[in-house]
């Protein structure tokens, strides 16, 4: 296949950046999207050019490192698929492909397609855990978790922290990412003790880190490679409402 790529090139955070056009000839349909870019880079290197910088690591859709907006869609057009798992057979001869980085004020661009997602870590640090000490915990089977609850928690826990939800959200809100963790820990007995504190802290961190507010556009769910559902955002809202109600012990 022959393809035309329009790739966002930006030297650094200060640089304004612009789209550059590249040709990708003899692309094999069995190549992954990133392998196609590898080849483009090899050619660039051979011709003394500056290869395109992009984040990637596991290349099997689980680490959440890869982050590219392809033709306006985070992770590209294939549903429930990360860029690294997107294969060229999804494209057609002669296609024009626009490749851009995640765009959100909370994700400053380091270079080309590489952005800084530290903000997501900060949100987690604000309360994305069940505070247990190493050692001295009860036997795993003393806490019974019925299968439906365990499955619900697992559905939420599958988030890979890629940030595509933020990239897709018209408000650059990280609410889907945040809600996945809040919901997982809210339904598990291990997490209930801190539920109120957690939902307050994590939602506040969202504002502090410069993410937008959720106004229920649901674009995040559509872009999420792991199919994290916006029902978790509803759950987060509910948890927040609950946290407003003082319990008899407070």
């Amino acid at each position: 296949m022959k393809l035309t790529l329009h790739v966002w090139r930006q030297k650094g955070p200060e640089d304004s950046g612009k789209l550059e056009t590249y040709k990708a000839d003899n692309v094999s349909p069995d190549q992954s999207f990133l392998e196609m870019l590898d080849e483009v880079n090899d050619d660039l290197v051979k011709n003394g050019g500056d290869p395109i910088a992009f984040d990637h690591d596991c290349r099997e859709g689980i680490c959440g490192m890869c982050s590219q907006v392809i033709n306006g869609r985070p992770h590209g057009q294939q549903e429930l698929t990360t860029v690294c798992q997107l294969h060229m057979r999804e494209f057609n001869e002669g296609d024009e492909i626009f490749i851009e980085p995640w765009r959100a004020r909370a994700f400053p661009i380091h270079k080309d397609l590489i952005v800084d997602r530290t903000a997501l870590d900060v949100v987690m640090q604000s309360g994305g855990y069940a505070s247990c000490h190493t050692g001295g915990v009860a036997d795993g089977n003393t806490l019974l978790v019925s299968k439906p609850v365990a499955d619900y928690a697992m559905d939420a826990a599958e988030c890979i922290g890629c940030g595509a939800c933020v990239a897709a959200c018209p408000n650059s809100s990280a609410m889907l990412f945040t809600s996945a963790k809040v919901a997982q820990l809210a339904v598990l007995p291990q997490g209930k003790a801190e539920a109120k504190r957690r939902v307050k802290a994590m939602t506040e961190a969202n504002n502090a880190e410069g993410f937008g507010n959720c106004s229920n556009h649901y674009e995040c769910e559509a872009a999420c490679p792991k199919g994290i559902s916006v029902k978790f955002i509803a759950k987060l809202n509910r948890e927040y409402l609950k946290s407003m109600v003082p319990s008899s012990t407070e």
Partner: protein
Amino acid sequence: MNLLTNTVGRKILMAVTGLLLIAFITVHLIGNLSVFAGPDGINAYAKALHDLGPLVWLFRLGMVALFAIHITFGIQLYMENKAATPDPYAIQKTLVTSFSAKTMIFTGLIILAFLLYHLLHFTLQVTNPSISAANLPLDAASRLDVYSMMVLSFQKVFISLIYIVAMIALLLHLAHGISSWVQTFGWSTGPSQDKVISIGKVLAIVYGLAYIAIPLLILARIVK
């Protein structure tokens, strides 16, 4: 307080006030539809309202508060979201969100503008004094003739247009607003999500058309 600063807290305030505003326009709609029952309908309704005396003021105060909260946070959230979102993608794609969701602030502001005009028009009656209830003769039952005021007003194309445009804005605003607050209150769940959204849209259309019917039917001289 956390509720006023927190991203979800303010979202919930939007929903609560939004919901109460819906309650108001529902009652208001029913009241206004009594115009189709002729003078005895609407004029009686208006009288009943006015006879509430101090309660009216209590109610008005509440309305002002509702709008104030809803509008302030609506604008504030909108500004924050703009600030959080840099220049758009070369190819902008949205898959599931709707026109009405993307234009909440604008339809909202149109409603606001309409509201100011609306109060000047019907409540303070300064825009068209000649045909305002205050200056019209009392009706047969010696009540303020709100009926004639409405009919004479909406026979004017210009006034009707303002109302119709505003009601379209309201329709759009509710098209996202109604399902949106279900999600904001945490009631919507995965699969039933789509149903909630469509029901919201249907309700919005019902509200919109019902409201539009009033100026439209009068303008079309179907109601005289």
